[in-house]
């Protein structure tokens, strides 16, 4: 039987696990299947969920015993144990041939770089935040900052209100859930509803929680479409939902203005927050490329780079979901805090919408506020859909997109503030 388990090590490692370990692997195998199924159906975003689900299946099915050299270099288990009769025997360390995310030592890293096929992708694009920046570059190319330039104060006000979750979750995570500042800031960024920002903050402030926070973050972003309509119906009575937003004539914003804004904003924000300069540069480079009408670059970024980054993002998130990494007790806290952040941000956005509703003498639909919870353009589309359902013919997409794009900018600003200030706060607290 031992020979059988040696040949088929996926089964061998499964049988060799505790009941809890078996259950963990089985549940993740099933979850991977569910993600692929929902991706295929179009219920969840297929570009992310299909590679993620398949990666999850592969990493949890394809577990094996590492060879003695790799076992020794694996930083997740002791290299040897002393058997009962005093003879030192190597431990059979379980691993996979996909990626070894916990390795930190350079020599060990080089060993796994030559062994695990996704290790180079993880080391060179994930652990330094490159993948987040590439996705952000793609987002920049897709953004039309003209919507923000047309209504700067209104959009920025809504975006700041919709960061309520990003701010309020921080003290909740520290004081109630006992997290440290870095962990709390990272999980709070889920309230900004922007995957790349969550990844970047976590990599800088809580790299040990990178996998669970990113997975929880991306899972929850689905709620912005599924859950926010309910929140809007709950918080905005129908009599107010049918409010028609007053339209003022807006002059055309030239591409030169948009480019100038991108250049100035990029320079100023990098000057203020050098720690988050990679994010700002990526975002505004995308905007600059779009507004400079560099069509070859636009095609390259919005096609090849964005799709390539999304493919490997999904695949990596999947293969990082091995049972021992994702089923950490801390995930329970992250689940609670992630939903808290997104709900609070939604409430904050609608609250901001109400403020504008009263300031503009009931000629502003407060539902637009929830679009400021970033996640561009999903939240803007949700708002338009909801408004159209109650007030057919009413178009609020430009206002909603302005708020949504401002949400991206304020999320990036908050990411920069957290990354810059948290180490200082931690030092002060100690």
């Amino acid at each position: 039987m031992d020979t059988f388990f040696q040949i088929f090590q996926g089964i061998g490692t499964f049988v060799d696990s505790t009941a809890l370990g078996m259950l963990a692997r089985l549940s993740l195998l099933l979850l991977g299947g569910v993600l692929v199924y929902l991706g295929k159906k179009g219920t969840l975003e297929p570009l992310l969920m299909i590679p993620m689900g398949l990666g999850m299946i592969a990493v949890n099915a394809g577990m094996l015993y590492l060879d003695p050299l790799s076992a020794e270099r694996s930083e997740r288990a002791p290299a040897a144990i002393v058997s009962v009769d005093g003879v030192v025997e190597p431990v059979r360390v379980k691993g996979n041939m996909l990626v070894e995310p916990l390795v930190k030592d350079n020599d060990n890293l080089m060993h796994f770089m030559g062994l695990d096929f996704l290790q180079p992708i993880y080391t060179f694009t994930f652990s330094n935040g490159l993948i987040a920046c590439l996705v952000f570059l793609g987002i920049g190319v897709l953004l039309d900052v003209g919507f923000v330039l047309a209504r700067p104060f209104e959009s920025m006000f809504l975006a700041l209100c919709a960061e309520l979750g990003t701010i309020v979750t921080f003290p909740i995570a520290v004081c109630i859930f006992g997290m440290d500042y870095g962990e709390a800031a990272s999980v709070s960024m889920i309230g900004g509803a922007d995957g790349p920002m969550v990844m970047f903050t976590t990599l800088k402030l809580a790299p040990h929680l990178f996998v669970p926070i990113t997975v929880v973050g991306y899972l929850y972003l689905g709620l912005t479409y599924g859950g926010y309509p309910y929140m809007m119906k709950l918080l905005v009575p129908k009599s107010i939902r049918i409010t028609k937003t007053a339209k003022k004539p807006i002059r055309d914003i030239s591409s030169g203005e948009k480019l100038a804004f991108a250049v100035i904003a990029c320079g100023a924000l990098c000057l203020l927050f050098p720690m988050a300069a990679p994010l700002f540069l990526s975002l505004f480079l995308g905007v600059a490329v779009r507004e400079s009408e560099l069509t070859s670059f636009v095609k390259l970024i919005e096609g090849t780079i964005l799709y390539c980054a999304t493919l490997f993002l999904g695949l990596m998130l999947g293969v990082l979901c091995s049972a021992d990494v994702i089923f950490d007790p801390v995930v329970l806290k992250l689940l609670v805090l992630g939903i808290t952040a997104l709900v609070l941000s939604g409430i904050g956005g609608i609250g901001g919408g109400y403020v504008l509703y009263f300031i503009k003498r009931r000629k502003y639909n407060p539902m637009i506020g929830i679009a400021a919870v970033s996640c561009v353009p999903t939240t803007a589309k949700v708002v338009q859909k909801m408004v159209q359902a109650d007030a057919p013919g009413e178009i609020v997409l430009p206002e909603a997109l302005g708020a949504s794009i401002s949400g991206v900018i304020t999320s990036a600003i908050l990411c920069g503030v957290y990354v810059a200030l948290v180490p200082i706060f931690q030092h002060v607290v100690k």
Partner: protein, 89 residues
């Protein structure tokens, strides 16, 4: 940026919540199982007042920078409108 597609909301919502609850139900026992054996490092937690003050500082800085960004945009609007000879919003 990754979002659910525009299909029926209720189903998507229920599915996402179900996945979250499933993971949560797993983590609960894992938490209980991990609790007795693993020594937890005792980290002195700062007072709630300090933490809220720190969060307030973060928000205040974000507000100032966002307002400055909006002022910058408004300034650009005025300059461009003056150059073009027509009105702003």
């Amino acid at each position: 940026m990754i979002a659910l597609r525009q299909k029926n909301n209720s189903f998507e919502f229920v599915v996402t919540i179900a996945i979250v609850i499933a993971i949560g139900m797993w983590c609960g026992p894992a938490l209980a199982a991990a609790a007795p054996g693993e020594p937890k490092p005792v980290v002195p937690s700062p007072s709630m007042f300090v933490v809220i003050t720190h969060a307030g500082i973060v928000y205040a800085i974000a507000i100032v920078i966002s307002v400055l960004t909006a002022v910058l945009i408004k300034g650009m609007n005025f300059v461009m409108a003056a150059r073009a000879g027509n009105g702003t919003e």
